[in-house]
């Protein structure tokens, strides 16, 4: 009773939020060269942003140029026809703007944040590097050092990073999700300028991008600037699709990473799941929340709070073009072995699979998704990032506004079935990061002479 009472309260919230931002508030247009723009006016602060989503990430790489998508992201800041080395940042910052960029397995995203009156400067800068990027030899060499430092500081400071690349490498033997987004060090050291030239030509054509502008702007102005600055950049040939399908995994895979400074074992368990576009996405996403979101989640409550097997635990399910991984990551409590922690996690998963979930828990995770949706819409950056993500991963930005309903349709059975199907032993890769590997098994055996019966 209480459950449904509270649920009614949450549902009632839908209308005021929907009236704050709806699908029809987003204006979409596509230039003749195929570059798509999404615009959402929001006048709450005198600022705006431009998020440029490129459909290229580490999945577009091949051995020998692993990490090139990310390196390319760096090179996009190192000079173009009308703005020489350093001028992109200098011009943008002098106009009050700031920027960043990130690369994932699937996409490369460039983010600019600026006072609205600087919008034309931002468009000029972005268009110039898309039209005519220059790849200066000295800048390439210096940038190798920067990316080497980025890779190294990640491995130095993050246990997750250290174990993640090993787990991915084991989980995928054919598909390019096998290597880390930052790439192998030997590839960072050795890719050539020609590799970069080819990459630019193949992937940085306007028809391979989606631009999102959110903030204190008018759609008319955005359209005018888009046409003026991006309109004459020629379309390119559509990049070749990634046809490699990871062969079906037939049994559990395991990896071990040793790092002397680790104080308690870290554990990563990664299950093969379908792409974000799959109909099971929403059930899996709710399953991830049920397992890992908040102190009342199954894994946290059982393993961190009640059994004290872990000091921290979380679930990570990245959006993905191709079938990818559902990660469970845990840090062992003092004195807890990786085996005990791992068993503890499986026991929790087993409970979901065999005993199911009740209505209240289902409602909790749905309510959580709804609140997450509102919080996303609280900032212009949240709006831009999420609109772009839905456009790329879910088949259209409109799907963002259908998300609460899509989650709402998921049943208890859907979630339990997803757990049974996907969180299966044969689909998982297990990684353990610890101070040192356990002793060699032979050392624990009796002396070999015994085998001769002496």
């Amino acid at each position: 009773m209480k459950v449904y009472g509270l649920f009614a309260v949450v549902l009632a919230l839908l209308s005021p939020v929907a009236s704050a931002t709806e699908a029809k508030d987003v204006k979409a247009f596509t230039l003749d060269n195929g570059m798509k723009f999404l615009v959402l006016e929001d006048h709450s602060i005198p600022n705006a942003n431009l998020y440029l989503f490129w459909k290229v990430g580490s999945r577009n790489e091949v051995p020998g140029i692993t990490g090139l998508s990310h390196f390319f992201e760096h090179m996009m800041f190192n000079g173009s026809e009308n703005y020489g080395p350093k001028m992109f940042d200098q011009t943008m910052e002098a106009a009050g703007g700031a920027n960043n960029a990130y690369t994932t397995e699937n996409t490369t995203v460039y983010t600019d944040w600026f006072p609205s009156d600087a919008m034309e400067t931002i468009f000029k800068l972005e268009a110039d590097r898309v039209r005519a990027l220059t790849l200066d030899d000295e800048m390439i060499e210096s940038e190798r050092g920067v990316v080497t430092s980025e890779r190294s500081t990640g491995l130095e400071n993050s246990n997750f990073r250290a174990i993640w690349e090993e787990v991915k490498g084991a989980a995928f033997r054919a598909h390019p999700y096998s290597w880390p987004v930052i790439g192998h060090q030997s590839d960072i050291d050795n890719w050539s300028k020609q590799d970069l030239v080819d990459y630019f030509k193949t992937y940085y054509a306007p028809n391979n991008a989606v631009a999102v502008v959110v903030g204190d702007v008018s759609t008319r102005d955005v359209k005018k600037l888009a046409e003026r600055h991006f309109g004459d950049i020629p379309a390119g040939k559509a990049p070749r699709p990634i046809h490699t399908v990871e062969p079906e995994q037939k049994g559990e895979k395991r990896v071990f990473v040793s790092k002397a400074s680790v104080t308690t074992p870290n554990l990563m368990i990664a299950y093969k799941i379908p792409a974000t576009s799959d109909p099971d996405y929403h059930a899996l996403s709710l399953l991830a929340s049920l397992l890992g979101d908040g102190n009342s989640s199954r894994l946290y409550r059982q393993l961190v709070d009640e059994q004290q097997l872990a000091t921290d635990i979380f679930v990570y399910m990245p959006e993905s073009f191709d079938p990818n991984l559902f990660y469970i990551y845990a840090v062992a409590a003092d004195g807890i072995s990786p085996e005990a922690l791992e068993k503890g996690i499986y026991r929790v998963l087993e409970t979901v699979k065999t005993e199911g979930i009740d209505d209240k828990e289902l409602q909790k995770v749905k309510n959580g998704k709804l609140m997450e949706f509102y919080r996303t819409l609280e900032t212009i950056n949240g709006k831009a990032d999420t609109l772009g993500s839905y456009e790329l991963y879910f088949g259209g930005y409109e799907k963002l506004f259908e998300a609460p309903e899509d989650f709402n349709r998921v049943t208890r059975d859907d979630i339990v079935n997803a757990a049974r199907e996907y969180l299966a032993k044969s689909r998982r890769t297990v990684g353990i990061l610890d101070k040192a590997e356990p002793e060699d098994e032979l050392a624990a055996l009796p002396a070999t002479s015994n085998e001769r019966g002496e």
């Binding site: 005198p46 910052e93 002098a94 430092s149 009342s296 004290q308 909790k364 997450e372």
Partner: protein, 464 residues
Amino acid sequence: MKSTLIILLSLIVGAFAGAGQTADSFRMPDFEQVQLDNGLTLYLMEQHEVPLVSVAAFVRAGAVLDGEQMGLASMTGDGLLFGTDKLPKKAVEDTFEFVGANLATSVASDYSVLSMSSAKKDLNVLLPIFADLLTRPTFAADEFDKHQTRTLAQLQQRRESPRSVINDYFDRAMFGADGYGNPVSGTQKTVGALTPDELAGFHKDWYQPDNVALVVVGDFATRDMIARLKKQFGGWQGQSKSRPDSDNALRTLDGNQVVLVNKSDARESTFMIGGPGITRSNPDYVPLIVINTVLGGRFTSWLNDELRVNSGLTYGARSRFNALEEAGTFAISTFTKTESTEAAMDLALETYQRLWSQGIDKAALDSAKNYVKGQFPPDYETNSQLAGLLGQMFIFGFGPAFINDFEQQVDSLTTDKARQLIEKHFPRDDLQFVVIGKADAIAELMKKYGTVSRYEIEADQYGD
């Protein structure tokens, strides 16, 4: 108890009106500040964009009051969430998380915060629980035991990452073994010695209405909210202890000092170089943000340009002022692979000297001013960010002028004034270095920079 139900309008010490937004000036949104009879300060700001409300209680008590019991303020903050007489910890979590609400605590050197964010319609259920957690926490012994065990493991785990601990070494070196020199999260030894009674004692000393501001930002009507908060918090009675004369003075350094922290499996050296800075209430706070933007506060800053863009020595180099209530520090920070430690440290020092040898020209200053102004509004966009701003106003004693005069203060900085401020506020001699890395490879080199003290990263200490 009922006496506090009366709102005396004369107690409204401030009602500030934003003068309407124009394209190029960002103003403080309207808010009201009210003081209840029991001394509790309320800040209320209506924001109607989404049907959410953020509530945050800012308590004027942070790690600076820990004394020798390092970690006491932090554990007390954590302990608020161990539950109340009416609701044990799990029931609190279940109630908040069922409706997708957030509940969190955080503790800094100068203050502690209990905060929540929820749909406005859930406040009826959640606000009374929030009030109980703030004013009548039980610090349940069984929950304390579990939390203490977990915290001890985490204190050890954070030593796996140089970036997690380097600031604690730096503060310890700058302030000595008390006050701001205390690591906020404590050490294994001091946290291991704490008891639930000591948390309750800290709570009783400092979590009192005259020492707390309750900040509410979001989708509500101010009059209704004041009435509701009076009903909820009006009966809270008590007085906080008077603050001790804590020793927050910076140590005087005699020549350059180097704290070398050995991490045997380090692949890189992580370092900070700095000295004394300013308090948060220093009138030069805003112009110093602008000057620091040129030196190390953005991508094209001198430090990042030299160490990253020109030389490829690092992924990033920056500088910052850490402005606290009674003191502050300034520091440069970056990291580089072990083999290039000397090159990076030399280049950082050389670039820093440009503040004096070359100074800041008009073009650099103008660019930094635009940057700082352009990036300012997004810092105050969400309910939680605005609640944080109001809470900081309470803790550090600044007013809405910080927002409303920000642009004018930025604009009025000239190159002459910048030169004076550099002379006055940036430490030039007697610098404090902290370097975390592979001592076998860099210990000898460290002597070049100053008098060296050496520690091991896994040891349960941040200084002598």
